[in-house]
Point group: C2
Chain length 194, copies 2
């Protein structure tokens, strides 16, 4: 990787972390510059504006990471069990900073979706991709599931509940609350089976 590309990646990584911790608007460029030990000129050589940097973080860091994390359990032979194991594993592996900071995508969603159209469209696109992943997985094993299930609706329900659980534990700083909601969610998910 060239030096320039190395610098760019470094900016992206640091920016992703800063945005995760402080939100997009509250993240100042100077804090990124300090951590990267570069000047403002360097940053503006690679990105035309703060918001373009935000888009790049979203597309090149957050989205790929997020989708790949979901892909694994959903392509499992038994996606129902895969999902439940995935969710309970989340509660176990959840670090302190993850409890406090929440999901980066979820946060960005809350903060920017109704403020900036560019973010909104990117978020929308990613949400649909995720929902499609879930729907595909459910359809694949539809013969084992209850009749009259609305797969898309189920997908959004799962995602919404997970987001709500993250948000709840974030504001209460209580990992247990998250575990409780996830436990109840797993009951719901397993009950999708015949």
């Amino acid at each position: 990787m060239s030096d320039a590309e190395q610098t760019r990646q470094n900016i992206l990584t640091v920016a992703a972390d800063e945005i995760h911790h402080h939100g997009f608007k509250a993240t100042s460029l100077s804090s990124i510059l300090n951590r990267c030990e570069i000047s403002k000129g360097a940053l503006y050589y690679h990105f035309t504006s703060k918001i373009e940097l935000g888009y790049a973080v979203f597309e090149e860091i957050y989205t790929p990471m997020f989708l790949s994390v979901w892909q694994t359990p959903l392509t499992d032979e038994d996606p129902i069990e895969g999902l439940c194991k995935f969710l309970t594993a989340m509660t176990d592996e959840m670090s302190c900073s993850e409890v406090v900071c929440g999901c980066p995508l979820n946060n960005l969603c809350e903060e920017m979706a109704n403020v900036d159209e560019g973010f909104r469209l990117r978020i929308l696109c990613m949400q649909e991709q995720l929902n499609q992943l879930i729907v595909d997985a459910l359809e694949r094993v539809s013969e084992d599931l209850r009749d009259n299930l609305a797969f898309s609706q189920v997908g959004y329900f799962i995602v919404a509940t997970l987001n709500g659980a993250t948000s709840l534990s974030k504001s209460s700083r209580n990992k247990e609350l998250f575990q409780q909601v996830i436990a109840e969610l797993c009951l719901y998910i397993r009950a999708l089976k015949k």
Copy 2:
């Protein structure tokens, strides 16, 4: 009501609306001053700082409104049906601005809980009050419900899912997504019964 108290209430009302629309940090005092047609001196006569104003909005506007809205369906003779009707009524009556702006308390939660301890404690307190309301309602009709239900867990699950649904519809600007998640949530709630 005295003139001074009238001014204070006016500030609170306008601030509540501004914070709902733009978030706490992004709400500038000057926008409040403009809408109230008062000076900065007037505001700082009634409130010692921006964050104290925020606390007052939380305690005197958001919390009472929020709790009273939940109280009605939960004290219904049949809280299960009361909740479901309450939730579906929300989807019908939801205005455009409510879709875009989301729930004021939920927003404040996301934005401020892990930034300011004062907000976090107030949010925590209110969440527990709400959960207690739900638990009380469920216990009251526990004979009609399935055995082995963890009431508190169920309460947090419902709140988390509703929050997630609000967040989802907010970022996608799609009322239908909210309706879908709520529809699925009502299925879950009704399935609590024997």
